[in-house]
Symmetry: C2
Subunit: 84 residues, 2 copies
C-alpha cells in the first residue's frame, strides 16, 4: 500500500485585501529589502491519502475537502496537485 | 520594467509536530473523509520583486528574506522558485 501525496495551495482571490501579506511586505522594507512590490500569503497543505482509490477519486475527494474545510471559496482559490 | 515573481514555500521540518495539520486531519475525519493518513500545513508566499536585479541576486535576496523573516529555520525548511 503506497500513499498518494497531494499538495494543496490556498490563495486569496485577486482583489481580496491581504493584510498579512502587507505586514510581511512592510517588515521586509524595514529590514532593508528594497524592490519588494507585493507580497501575498497563502496556505500550503500536504495531504497524504491511503492509496486505495484512483487518482480521479482522490482528486474528487480533495476537491470536496477544499470546498468544505480547507478553503473559504468566497475569498480564496485553491489548486490541487497529486504526486506519485 | 517587469516583475520577478517568486514563490516561497515554508514547511515544518520532518519530525516537528504540526498541531495545525493534526487539527485539519481530525476535522476531515469528522466530516467523513476517510483514508487521510497525514496532513502537514505550511505557508505559501508570493513575492513580487522589481525586475532591476539578476535572478541570482533575486535568489540571494529571497534567501536572506527567508532566513531573517519568512521562515524559522530552527523548525522550518523553505524553498524558493523564481518564475519569469
Amino acid at each position: 500500500m503506497g500513499v498518494l501525496k497531494a499538495k494543496v495551495h490556498v490563495t486569496l482571490k485577486p482583489g481580496v485585501l491581504d493584510p498579512q501579506g502587507k505586514a510581511v511586505q512592510h517588515s521586509l522594507a524595514a529590514l532593508g529589502f528594497g524592490g519588494v512590490e507585493q507580497v501575498r500569503q497563502g496556505k500550503y497543505i500536504e495531504v497524504d491519502l491511503a492509496d486505495g482509490s484512483s487518482r480521479e477519486q482522490a482528486r474528487a475527494a480533495l476537491d470536496a475537502m477544499c470546498r468544505q474545510l480547507l478553503a473559504n471559496t468566497v475569498i480564496e482559490d485553491y489548486t490541487i496537485d497529486i504526486a506519485e
